[in-house]
Symmetry: C2
C-alpha cells in the first residue's frame, strides 16, 4: 500500500467518527490536506436507529458502517483505531492510548456525549442508557429476558415486577423505547408464551417536565402522549426519579412519593459531555457549560485557538443568541460540513461567515404508523409523519447495503410485526436465574405501591 499523503499538506486530525467527524472527513475528500480520523470504534454508528437494535428489530451491523470502508476512496484520509488521552495545543499534538503522539495543524474534536445520571452514577448498572452498540445489546437482553423470567415466575407480585418496564426520560429516545416496548408486549410476542399474557406488561414513561418531547411544539407533545397511551404506555409527566434501588424506582410527583417495583429500568434522561470537554478546558481554558459541553465561537473554533474546532453533541453553539443547538444528527452533520469548508477557504486565504444552522425540522417516532413531525412551517403526525421518518432514516444511512437490509427488515416487520433480532446474548445471560439462585434477594422487594 503506497501512502498517498503528501507530506507538506496541512494535517487535519479529527477525533470521533460520528455524524460530525465523519461528515467533516467526507467533505474534505478533495481538499489539499492530510486527514486522520481517530475513533475508538472501527465503525460509524447511525445512532437515530439504535433503539431499534435495543428492541430487536435491527442487527448492530445494519446501523453501523466500517469507517475504513466509508473512507476507502478518500486518498487523503487515514483511519486510526485508538483512544485519545490528551492534547497539547502548544506543540499541536494528540496523545493516544496505543500509538505514538500525532501532530495536527487543525484539530476537529467531535467525541460526543455519554449518559448523565446527575450525580447518581451508581444507577448506571440498574438503569442502563442507550449510546453504544453494547448498551443496545444489553437493553435488548434485559427486555427479552424479563419476559422469559416472568414466564417462569409463579408468584404474581414478582411476575408483575418482571413485566414492568420503566423508561426514565420523555425525550425522543425515551418515547421511541417506550413505544417499541409496548409494541413488543402487546403485539410482537402475542401467542408465544404459555403461562403469561405479555399484554399485561406495564410500560411507564417518566418525564420531569410537563409533557413528553419537551423541545417540540405542545400540540405534537400532546399527540405523542395520546399515541403512546393508545399503545399501552403509561405516561407520567412532572415526575422526578429520586432513587433507583433493588429493582425499585422511587418517583416524586409533586408532594407524593411513589415506589414502582420494576425489573427493567432504562435511562433516557440526560447526557453529559465526553471527557474531551474536560481535556480541552484544562489545556486551553475554554469555557464549558453545565453539561460539560464546550462553548464554541461563531465559527465553531474555541476561544484563542483558531486551529481547534469542536462540533456535534460536544459543542455548545448558542443558536442565534438563544438556547444551544440540540444534540441531534443534522446539527452535527452541518457543523462537520461547515468546518470542512472553512478549512478549505482558509487554505485559499478566504474568510468564512459564521456557522448558521439550517433547521429542516424534527421527527420522532412512537410506533408503527405513528410519528410526529415539526417542519417549522408545518406540524403533523400519523401515517404521513411515520412515512417521512422512514424515508429520512433510510436516506441518511451511509452504506447502500445497510439501506437495503434495513428496508427489507422494516418491510417484513411492517406486515408481520416481527422482532427477528431478539437474541438474548452476552455476558449477562445467566441473570435469568437470579430469582431462583438468590431468593432472599427477592424478599427485599416491598409491595408494589404503584
Amino acid at each position: 500500500m503506497t501512502n498517498n499523503h503528501i507530506e507538506n499538506q496541512p494535517k487535519v486530525v479529527i477525533l470521533g467518527g460520528g455524524f460530525g467527524g465523519l461528515y467533516a472527513a467526507q467533505a474534505l475528500k478533495k481538499a489539499p490536506v492530510q486527514v486522520t480520523l481517530v475513533d475508538k470504534r472501527n465503525f460509524h454508528l447511525f445512532q437515530p436507529l439504535l433503539y431499534q437494535v435495543a428492541t430487536g428489530v435491527l442487527s448492530p451491523a445494519d446501523i453501523a458502517s466500517p469507517l475504513r470502508l466509508v473512507l476507502s476512496q478518500h486518498n487523503n484520509a487515514k483511519v486510526l483505531l485508538d483512544e485519545v488521552i490528551d492534547i497539547a495545543p502548544q506543540t499541536k499534538q494528540v496523545y493516544l492510548k496505543g500509538h505514538d503522539p500525532i501532530s495536527y495543524d487543525i484539530l476537529i474534536v467531535a467525541t460526543g456525549v455519554s449518559h448523565h445520571y446527575f450525580g447518581n452514577d451508581q444507577w448506571s448498572e440498574l438503569a442502563p442508557g442507550l449510546k453504544t452498540i453494547e448498551d443496545a445489546l444489553e437493553i435488548r437482553r434485559r427486555i427479552y429476558m424479563a419476559f422469559e423470567a416472568a414466564e417462569k415466575e409463579s408468584d404474581p407480585v414478582k411476575r408483575q415486577a418482571w413485566l414492568t418496564f420503566v423508561i426514565v426520560g420523555g425525550g425522543p429516545t425515551g418515547v421511541e423505547l417506550a413505544g417499541a416496548i409496548a409494541e413488543i408486549a402487546h403485539k410482537a410476542l402475542q401467542g408465544e408464551f404459555r403461562d403469561i399474557d405479555t399484554s399485561e406488561a406495564k410500560i411507564l414513561l417518566i418525564e420531569g417536565l410537563d409533557r413528553v418531547l419537551p423541545p417540540y411544539p405542545p400540540e405534537l407533545s400532546a399527540k405523542a402522549e395520546k399515541d403512546l397511551t393508545e399503545l399501552g404506555v403509561t405516561v407520567q409527566t412532572q415526575s422526578m426519579v429520586t432513587d433507583i434501588n433493588d429493582h425499585i424506582v422511587t418517583v416524586r410527583q409533586g408532594e407524593q412519593l411513589k415506589q414502582i417495583s420494576a425489573r427493567t429500568i432504562l435511562w433516557a434522561a440526560g447526557v453529559k459531555a465526553s471527557k474531551m470537554g474536560q481535556v480541552l478546558a484544562e489545556q486551553t481554558g475554554v469555557e464549558l457549560d453545565r453539561a460539560g459541553r464546550v462553548i464554541v465561537e461563531p465559527d465553531l473554533s474555541i476561544q484563542g485557538y483558531r486551529d481547534i474546532f469542536v462540533i456535534g453533541d460536544l459543542a455548545n453553539f448558542p443558536y442565534q443568541g438563544e438556547r444551544p443547538l440540540p444534540g441531534v444528527a443534522p446539527v452535527a452533520m452541518q457543523e462537520g460540513d461547515y468546518v470542512a469548508k472553512l478549512i478549505q477557504k482558509r487554505i485559499k486565504g478566504e474568510t468564512s461567515s459564521s456557522f448558521y444552522y439550517k433547521d429542516f425540522g424534527s421527527l420522532a417516532v412512537i410506533g408503527q404508523n405513528k410519528a410526529v413531525v415539526d417542519l417549522g412551517f408545518a406540524k403533523f403526525s400519523g401515517v404521513l409523519a411515520w412515512m417521512l421518518w422512514v424515508w429520512a432514516h433510510i436516506y441518511y444511512l451511509i452504506e447502500f447495503d445497510n439501506k437495503l437490509i434495513v428496508m427489507l427488515q422494516w418491510g417484513w416487520n411492517y406486515f408481520t410485526l416481527g422482532r427477528g433480532a431478539r437474541l438474548i446474548t452476552g455476558e449477562g445471560q445467566t441473570r435469568i436465574s437470579e430469582p431462583a439462585i438468590v431468593p432472599e434477594e427477592q424478599e427485599k422487594v416491598p409491595s408494589i405501591t404503584h
Copy 2:
C-alpha cells in the same frame, strides 16, 4: 394466555433447541403429547453459517431464530429458557437451575457438544473455538482487530505476527474459516489501510492427518487444498499443535518442531460431549465413547431406559456397524424426526424399525465460487458445488425473513466482496492497546521461525 396443554397427555421433555431438539419438537406438532423444550438460549442457531458471523458477512440475528417464534403455532409446545443441572430417571424428573423440577414421560436429550482442547483447556483463551454466537463475535473481534493493530505497529516482526492467522484443524469449520480469512485479507480489505498491505497476511491451516476434510473422498480433499492455496492459505497437513503460548504456536511436523508467531489463533480441531453425557452416564450407567458421547441403541434410546433418547451431536450411533455418524445438522434433523415418529407410533401401540440415516451427501465451502460436494453417487467442486451449497443453506434456514436477509446479504457481497458486519464490539475492545500499554510483554515474542 390460556394453557392449551391437556394435562393427561404424555409429557415429552426435550433438552436443547438445536437441529435435533427443534426438529423433534416440530415433528410432534400434531401428536397427542405435551412438549416442553428447554434451552439455555432463547434462539435456535443455524450453526453451519456461524463462520460467516465470525468473518463479518452475516449478523447473529440472520442465523438465529427465536425458539418461541418457531414454535408459536405449536399449541402443544412450551419453551423454557433454563439450564439443566441433573436428571433423575427413577422419578422421571429434570432439575433446572432457575425453575422447579419438571416431570417427563419421555426425555429427549439433544444438548450437543463443545470444544475439545485434548487436555489443554488453558488454550481456550488463546485459541477460541466456534460454537456459540459469543464465540463468533469474539473471533470476529480478533480477526478485524489484528488488522487494526498491524496498521499501527511500526516494528515489522510484530506487525507480521498481527498479520499471521493460524487455524488449528482442517475439518469443514477450519477450511471455511481459513478460506474466509484469506478472502478478507486478499480481497475485502484491499484499499482500506494506508500503512499495511493486508494481502501480506499469512493464513495457516494446521491439520494432524494427511489431508484437509478427512471424512471426504481424497480427490475432494485435494481439490479443497488446491482452492485454499489459490486463495492464499498455507495448508500444513500431518502437523500437530504441541503448544500454544504467548502468541506462539508450536507445531510438530514429523521430527521437526516449528514455532509460529501469530496473534490470532483459532481452534477448529475437536469437540467433546456437553456435560449431559456425563450426567446420563452417572444416572443411568449408559456407556460413553472417548469424546464423552452417549452410545445409543438402534432406536436412539439408551440401554435400559426406553423413555430416554439421545440425538444429535451428543449421540454416538454406530452407523451400519461402522464409524459413528458424523456430528452434522442432517444427522441431528433425521434423528429428531425419527424419535418424534417413534413416540407417536408407541402411543398407538405400534413398533418402530431401527433408525437409519439417509446420507444425502456432504458439502463444504472454501470461498466464493469454491466448494466441494460429495453426493455419494457424484463428487464435484467449483461454481456448481458452491451454488448447491448456497441453495442448501438458504433452504434450511428456519425463518422466512432470515432467508430473505441472508440472500440479500450474499447477493450484495457476491458483487462487492464486502464484509459489512465487521464491527469490533464487546468486552475485549480495549485489547488493541495491549502492545502499547504492556510493551514488555511484547519483548517475550521470539523471532518468527516459520
